[in-house]
């Protein structure tokens, strides 16, 4: 039997923060695939649009929480990111929606997308490469 996931001592229910980070990682992979010119398909487009919308809504909500609670010590943002990080995530989601809808991104926009993507990856220390996911080359 294949075993995946957390070590036994780290097992617990998944919280909203876990889902936000996981969905953000999925959005990063979707964007890297687009930048690598991997093929899209109707269900992939739908998945990107749904995922981008959920990530965007969460990012806006988390940024508002920071703005509202400020330095209130009773408020614990478990993710502990700066407000600008959520703006970057929101921008990534908007650009992902654009390419999923078939809008072609000009070269300078692709460069901006890649730069934003790299900054987000550095912040969450996510370094997943898509080169080992050959199945993404098939739509």
């Amino acid at each position: 039997m294949l075993r995946l996931g957390s070590r036994p001592e780290n097992m617990r229910e998944m919280e909203l923060d876990d889902i936000f980070i996981s969905r953000l990682q999925l959005l990063i992979i979707m964007t890297k695939s687009y930048l690598n010119k991997y093929p899209l398909g109707s269900y992939r487009e739908r998945s990107i649009l749904e995922n981008a919308e959920l990530v965007k809504v969460d990012a806006v909500g988390l940024a508002e929480d920071i703005a509202f609670f400020g330095s209130d010590e009773d408020f614990h943002n478990g993710l502990n990111f700066e407000p600008v990080f959520y703006q970057r995530v929101k921008l990534l989601a908007v650009m992902a929606e654009a390419f999923a809808k078939g809008h072609s991104l000009e070269e300078h926009k692709q460069e901006a997308l890649e730069k934003n993507l790299n900054t987000i990856c550095e912040t969450i220390t996510f370094s997943k490469t898509i080169s080992d996911m050959q199945f993404l080359k098939v739509a």
Partner: protein, 138 residues
């Protein structure tokens, strides 16, 4: 170099009463295989659907389900459709042994993320095409 291809018209079902976790799994799998994903919030509805419409290639389910739980579902599915891959997930370490004893193909310990789901696709859904033809499934 051999090209990876996805099982043609692959059919995957996700069963979990937690809609937030279920939708995350569905988004990841739908993107991975570029196919629609069947979803259910309890084991009974899933079982009835499988009996009526045929068994999927892969089932991913929470151990803790209403009416027919994940452990019971593994036994029933493996008896009715031995070729169906069954993957169970849980937040309780003690469930891992139970899942193994029931004959599940994989166990995912919560919390998990995209890497684990991509790993499932790579292991159970991707076929190696000996001709090296990157054909697109219909």
């Amino acid at each position: 170099m051999r090209e990876a291809t996805i099982i043609a018209n692959v059919k995957i079902a996700v069963i979990d009463e937690d809609v937030i976790v279920r939708d995350f799994i569905v988004s990841t799998l739908m993107y991975s295989v570029n196919r629609d994903i069947l979803t259910f919030d309890n084991g009974f509805d899933a079982w009835v659907s499988f009996e009526e419409s045929g068994f999927p290639d892969m089932i991913i389910a929470d151990v803790n389900l209403q009416e027919i739980d994940g452990l019971a579902l593994v036994s029933k599915v493996k008896q009715a459709s031995p070729g169906t891959v069954v993957v169970l997930f849980s937040d309780l370490p003690e469930n891992e042994t139970k899942v193994r004893e029931k004959g599940s193909d994989a166990f995912i310990a919560k919390p998990f993320g995209v890497n684990e789901l991509f790993n499932l696709v790579q292991t159970f859904v991707v076929e190696q095409d000996p001709a090296g033809d990157p054909s697109t499934p219909a």
